[in-house]
Amino acid sequence: MSASLVMFLAFIAVTLWITWWAARKNTGSSAYFAAGRSLRAWQNGIAVAGDYMSAASFLGIAGIIAFQGYDGFMYSVGWLVAYLTVLLIVAEPLRNAGKYTMADVLAYRLSPRPVRAMGALSTLTVSTFYMIAQMVGAGALVSLLLRDTGISFSAAVISIGILMIVYVVFGGMLATTWVQIIKAILLMSGTILLSLLVLAHFGFSFGSFFEAIAHVTYHDAQGNPVTQNFLQPGLRYKPPYGALDLISLGLALIFGTAGLPHILVRFYTVPDAKTARVSVVWAMVIIGSFYILTTFLGFGAATIVGRDFIAKNGGTNMSAPLLAQALAGDLFFAFISAIAFATILAVVAGLTISASTSFAHDFWANVLKHGKGTALGEEVRVARVTAFVVGAVSILIAILLGPDANVAFLVALAFAVAASANLPVIVLSLFWRRFNTRGAVAGLATGLVSSLALILISPGIMKSNAIFPLENPGIVSIPLGFIGAFIGTLSGCEPRAEEKFTELSVRATTGLGAEKAVSH
């Protein structure tokens, strides 16, 4: 296993060097939080793709497909189509109207203190959820890689947490972006290589590959051999609630992406709305190709490695790395693991930065300090402290959850929270003249509380005694988020918010007055 260790250390050394390099170029809030708004479309596009293709995609989807076949592929589909919501509805208006965070857009029309406080709370919640999943993936990976050294799951999670804090505290957005770009390129090359090896295993014949997928043999819980067609839907989502659960998952994915703080924050790092748009398209090309290739990763693991072996060697999240080991030996296993590790590190850094930006900018500077009176650089300092706290909390919860939860499933819950709390208020504030502060606070609160409550009483947490029968709460909590926002809005009247709607819609539509790039 020493080859894997060497590869890890090499990657970490390179990324730390980039962090150090970027840290010297950080010269203020705009640079720290938004990379000086100077990124090009392709750079930002690759970074968006990098932020998105997290452990959930590489480790999680491959795992679900390897264990439950076709139903896992539904995650891949939803995760790409979701980008149409981002492209058509939110990316450009947000770039034109915002500054650093989602709450900036809300505060534009509405009473700033309540919406910023709620916005920061929901951003922190979504980011923490997303981060817990990454930590679980990282812990499982590192403990599998270094099992000869006897490192525990907890120790692995803690060491990754510390690395992440170093990234964010010293590097800021520019460093995170470059780490993201390098990682996205590595991840794509690794995935293409792995897919080619899977095809080569079947003599480059799609026919025999799919034939093998249609006859996968494994042992069930009682130890009896089962042969199953893995292309057949319904292995994960079974009656009576399977169909509803699939739709619920689809809703969470399609509407959650446009409410993810760490994706939204990326649109403030480019000079204008046009660049934001082109970067979404870059991201869609990369992400789409990647998710089509999950067919090879997941079904490859199911047919070549088999779920019996995976279950005994690290569990569902380790399907892709174990596939690499089966196809090309330990060195390739180390390479793929290093990529997976890099993926997690980079995504965690991106998440931490959006969470800490939101807290420092929305809550500290604008709610606690009333938008004035903070010393120069204080906002950045608060963001760094927040990064420590958020990191510590997610390390703790990840250790409590343990290595067996599938990371794609965990991340889909973060999407459900984002879709229920953030998306309704973003869309309504951009497109509904009557929308007001009460509506925003009510929408954020009902979306956040209902999605969290439903997750707590779902089969994922309560197992067989679950009160709520669906894995994913989206189908109930997203409408509740919208209803909360509607009722809140209709309960009050806010002439100032309606007046400012004209300004926001002119700004969002034409880009008049949008913040320009800063040269540095």
Partner: protein, 146 residues
Amino acid sequence: MQHKQADSDNSDLMPSAGVPADVAPHGHDRPEAAHGLTADADADLSDWQRVAVMDEFKKLVAAKRRFIIPATIFFIVYYFALPVLVGYAPKLMERRVFGVVNLAYLFALSQFFMAWLIAALYVRAAGRFDEMARSIISRLSKGGEN
């Protein structure tokens, strides 16, 4: 016409602490001297309101809606057809098309191409929207002879 940002007191109604205001001011500014005003500006309208009543702006909003609303409805219907059919018509979706490859897998795969196609069509249409937005902003800085 660009309003001057002479005094710092009212230059940004949504200040961000510790950062020099690098975003255009929201809302009204101190007015220009009376002799520098056009008839529109003399009526005490902000840039935003003047743009909002321009025919060109209304056309831009309408053009965007004409593309975005049908495209959004289409992709949502196309996407949700997949989980609905897989969930409620499993027999149909398990029908084999090429060898063992079934309709469910092919329909899922087609979603990727649908997403790319809509993105490409949108980028083409958005080029036209950018053009219209530019012409609105340039009319504004010429004094808005609307």
